[in-house]
Symmetry: C2
Subunit: 450 residues, 2 copies
C-alpha cells in the first residue's frame, strides 16, 4: 500500500488525507474536499464491524470500513477449512461484495496502526482517515499465556492462512507417515493433539478424527490412518465450560465414541517440534499440535490509551463508547462490555453482531438528532458445537438438542445466517452442498513447505 | 518429509528402501521384502503420469506414483484461479482420491532429485525406490529466456501457489488503486500486462479484462476499475500461433472488443517493479505483469543423463523409451517425442495423456509377455482457447467454432473430461456450477503480503 502513497505530493504533515468519496465523485482525483456529511470510520470487517455499516444504510453518514484483509471471514467454520471439509472460498467473502449495493460505504484494505483521538484521525502509517464517529471492531488473537514460543509448534486458528497452513500440517502428517519406515515415527506422525476444550477445540478434535478414521483409510497403502490417535487436552475440569454440564458430558461421550481421547484437568507444560508435555512428566509424541486454548484482544485499546482488562479488552460504558469520548466505540472481542444487567458480554459472534447493530443504530440516531437508544442489552441465544459431521450439542434457553437433531439444527442455523448475510439463498445452499458432500478438492496441501 | 526418515535404522548404504506394499500388507512395518510382482515407478502425477497408472489397473504391476504435491492439477484452468473465477479446490484433486479404488497403486508425496539407472532406483535424498520400469512425467517450468531475474516482477503460472499469489497481486492492485491519491499511480496500478500470446496469455488477458470491466466496477468508490488497461504482448507476428490464422484473427478481434490492447511483434526488453519496457524505448508503467511466454522442461533428462533438445526435453525413441534403456520412459512436456509420421508431439495436455496411455499399455504388454504395441502415434484432436467468459475459439480438424457456440463446446469438453477423470458426474457439474456462477468466494486475497 505504502508504495502507492509515497509517490504523491506530500502535504505539510507529510500525511495524505483520504476522504470517503461518493460514488458519483469517483473520478474526482485528487480527492474532493471533505463532504458535509458526518464521517463514520469502522476498523474491522468482522461480525461486529459489518453490522455497524449495515445499520447505517439509511443514514446520512459517509461510512469508511477499513480492514487489513479484503474478506469477511466466517470464523466459526474456520476449523472446517483447517480439516479439509470446506474450501476457503466457502467461508470468506470479499467485503466489497457485501456492500456492493450500499453506496454510502467505502471499503479500504489497509492495516491501521494508530488513532489520534484529539485530531480525530485513524492512521495506517501513510494515510489519515478523519472521523466524526469511530468504531473499533478489530477482534482478538491467540494467547499463549506467556509462552509465545509455542506458536511455532502449536499454531492457532484465526485467519484463512492459519487454516490452510494447519491443513497443510495435518495432511502432510499422513503423507509423511506413508513414507516413514520407522513404526515409532509413524505412530508419532499419526498422533494429533488439540489443546483447549472450548467449542473450537471440540469441533477441531472431532473433525480431525473423522478425517483420519473415515475419509482417509481407503487411500493409504503402507499405513492405516484409522489407527491415528486424536487427543483433546483441557486444563479445566471439563470440556465446553460455557455449556450446561449435561451437554458437555454428552459431547465428551460423543467424542470418545469417535475415538477421541478427552483429557481434562491436564495442563500443557511444554510444546516442541516432537509433541507436547502434560504436567510434570507425561509426554505425548505428536506430529501435529493445534492451539485452541486462549485469546487476547487486539491492540485497539492501546491505540486509544483506553483502560483495559487483563485480556487487553477496552472497558466501555453502557453505550459501548469509551469514557470521555462519546464518539468512539469499541465492540466485539476487543471490548470488555457489560450489559444492562451488568453481566459480562461473551466474546462470541452473536454478541459482536448485537454490539454492532446497537452502535450502528446509536450513531444513526445521533446523526439524525434523535435521542440515544437505551443502554446496550445482550441477549444470549444459546450455544452450539458440532462434534464431527453428523452430530452436535445445542443449548437454547431451556431447549437442548444433541446428536443428529442437534446437527440438523446447527445446519439450519448456518444456512439461515448465510441467507441473512449474503441475502443470496444460492450461496447458502452452495455452502451446505460443499459441506454435506465434503468435496475432495478441499484436501489440498498448498503453500511453501514447512 | 526428510525428518520422518532420518530417524530410522540406517542401512549400509545409509539409504532406506521403500517397497510398494499391497493393501493387505499395510501393517507390515518395517517394510515387507520385495514382492515378486514387477515394480513400476511413475514420477509425476500430471496428465501423463495419471494415465500410465490407470492403464496398469488390470496389470500384475505394483505401481508407485510419486509426486512432490498431493494433488493432480488441471493446469488448463489455472488462469481462472489466478483471476478469481474458480477456487483452487475446483481444479485440483488429491492424487490419492483418484486411485482410492485401484489397489495396485501406492501414492507417495516426495520430491525426487535423482535416478540411478544402473541400480534401477529413484532417489529423493532419503528414500530409494527400486523399479523394473520407470516413467518420468515431470512436466515443465516457466522459461525467462535467460532473464530469470524477471520472475519476481512477472510471475508465471504453473502451480496452485503461483495462481493464488498472482490472484493476490491482481486483486491487491485494485485495492491499492482505491487507496492511492495520485492519479498517475492509480493509472499504473490499473494497468495489467500479459506477456505471451499463446492460449494461456490470451485466456489470462480476457479474464483480467472481465474482472476489471465487469465484475468489480460496482464495488469501488474512489477509482473505476472499468478504466483499467489490459495489454497483451506477443513477440511474434500474431497471437495463438498454433491456431489456424483466421481463428487467431477472430480471437484478436474478440479481445479488442473486450478492451484488451493486443500488441504483436513487440519484444519485452525489461521487467521491473514499476512495469515493462518494449523494444528499445517504449515503456509500459504497470502494477501487475504476468508471464505466459515460455516453458522449459523439468530436469528429468539431466537425472538420467539423456540426450535432450534446447528446451531440455529428453529425446525418446518411437516407443517413448530412452536409447539403451527400454525400461525407462519419458512422456509429456519432459519428452522431445516424434510420432510415427516423424512430426514433433506438442507440449499440451491431450498429448501427455496419449503418451501416458501408450506407455501404460506397453508396460502392461511387456509384463504380460505380449508383443509391444506399434510405435506411438499422436492424434491431434484440435485447439481450444476461451476469450473471457462467454466466448471461445475452437479448431477441430476441419471444424471451426467461435463466440458463444465455441464457448459452449469448450464447457462441454471440460465437463466430459472431468466426468472421465473423476468418474463422478457430480464433480463435473460442481465445477461447471462454480464456473458459471463465478462464486464471489474465489476473490480472496490470501498469503503473506508481497
Amino acid at each position: 500500500m505504502s508504495e502507492s502513497l509515497q509517490r504523491q505530493p506530500a502535504e505539510a504533515s507529510g500525511k495524505v488525507r483520504i476522504f470517503p468519496a461518493a460514488a458519483d465523485a469517483r473520478d474526482a482525483a485528487p480527492p474532493a474536499p471533505a463532504p458535509r456529511r458526518p464521517r463514520v470510520v469502522i476498523v474491522g470487517a468482522g461480525f461486529g464491524g459489518l453490522e455497524v455499516a449495515r445499520a447505517l444504510r439509511r443514514s446520512e453518514a459517509e461510512v469508511t470500513l477499513v480492514d487489513r484483509r479484503n474478506h469477511h471471514l466466517f470464523q466459526p467454520l474456520l476449523y472446517q477449512v483447517a480439516t479439509a471439509a470446506l474450501s476457503p472460498g466457502d467461508i470468506a467473502w470479499p467485503v466489497r461484495s457485501v456492500f456492493r449495493g450500499q453506496q454510502n460505504v467505502t471499503v479500504l484494505m489497509t492495516e491501521v496502526n494508530g488513532v489520534d483521538l484529539a485530531a480525530r484521525v485513524v492512521r495506517d502509517g501513510t494515510v489519515e482517515l478523519p472521523f466524526d464517529f469511530l468504531v473499533l471492531a478489530t477482534g482478538s488473537n491467540h494467547s499463549y499465556f506467556g509462552h509465545d514460543e509455542w506458536e511455532r509448534f502449536a499454531p492457532g486458528l484465526k485467519s484463512i492462512e492459519d487454516a490452510t497452513s494447519l491443513r497443510q500440517r495435518l495432511l502432510s502428517a499422513f503423507e509423511r507417515a506413508e513414507l516413514a519406515t520407522d513404526p515409532a515415527e509413524q505412530r508419532r506422525l499419526l498422533t494429533f493433539v488439540v489443546i483447549g476444550g472450548g467449542p473450537t477445540g471440540v469441533e477441531m478434535a472431532g473433525a480431525i478424527s473423522e478425517l483420519a478414521h473415515r475419509a482417509l483409510p481407503a487411500e493409504f497403502r503402507r499405513v492405516d490412518p484409522g489407527t491415528a490417535r486424536v487427543v483433546l487436552v483441557e486444563a479445566g475440569p471439563r470440556i465446553l465450560p460455557s455449556f450446561p454440564e449435561e451437554l458437555a458430558d454428552t459431547a465428551r461421550r460423543s467424542l470418545e465414541g469417535m475415538q477421541v481421547e478427552v483429557r481434562t484437568a491436564a495442563r500443557v507444560t511444554r510444546c516442541d517440534e516432537r509433541g507436547v508435555t502434560l504436567g510434570d512428566t507425561e509426554r505425548l509424541e505428536a506430529g501435529t499440535v493445534v492451539w485452541a486454548a486462549g485469546v487476547v484482544a487486539s491492540p485497539a485499546a492501546a491505540w486509544i490509551g483506553a483502560e483495559h482488562d487483563r485480556a487487553g479488552r477496552a472497558v466501555v460504558g453502557p453505550d459501548l463508547s469509551i469514557p470521555g469520548h462519546p464518539e468512539v466505540f469499541v465492540i466485539g472481542d476487543t471490548a470488555a462490555a457489560r450489559d444492562n444487567t451488568d453481566r459480562p458480554v461473551p466474546g462470541i459472534a452473536p454478541a459482536a453482531k448485537q454490539m454492532g447493530q446497537y452502535v450502528g443504530k446509536l450513531i444513526a440516531a445521533r446523526i439524525a438528532g434523535r435521542p440515544d437508544p437505551a443502554p446496550f442489552s445482550y441477549r444470549h441465544h444459546g450455544d452450539l458445537a458440532t462434534i464431527g459431521r453428523k452430530s452436535a450439542v445445542v443449548s437454547l434457553g431451556r431447549m437442548r438438542l444433541t446428536g443428529f437433531p442437534g446437527w440438523l439444527f446447527w445446519c439450519l442455523a448456518h444456512v439461515w445466517y448465510l441467507i441473512g448475510f449474503r441475502s443470496r439463498v444460492v450461496v447458502a445452499f452452495d455452502w451446505l452442498w460443499s459441506y454435506v458432500t465434503a468435496q475432495r478438492g478441499a484436501r489440498l496441501i498448498t503453500g511453501r513447505r514447512p
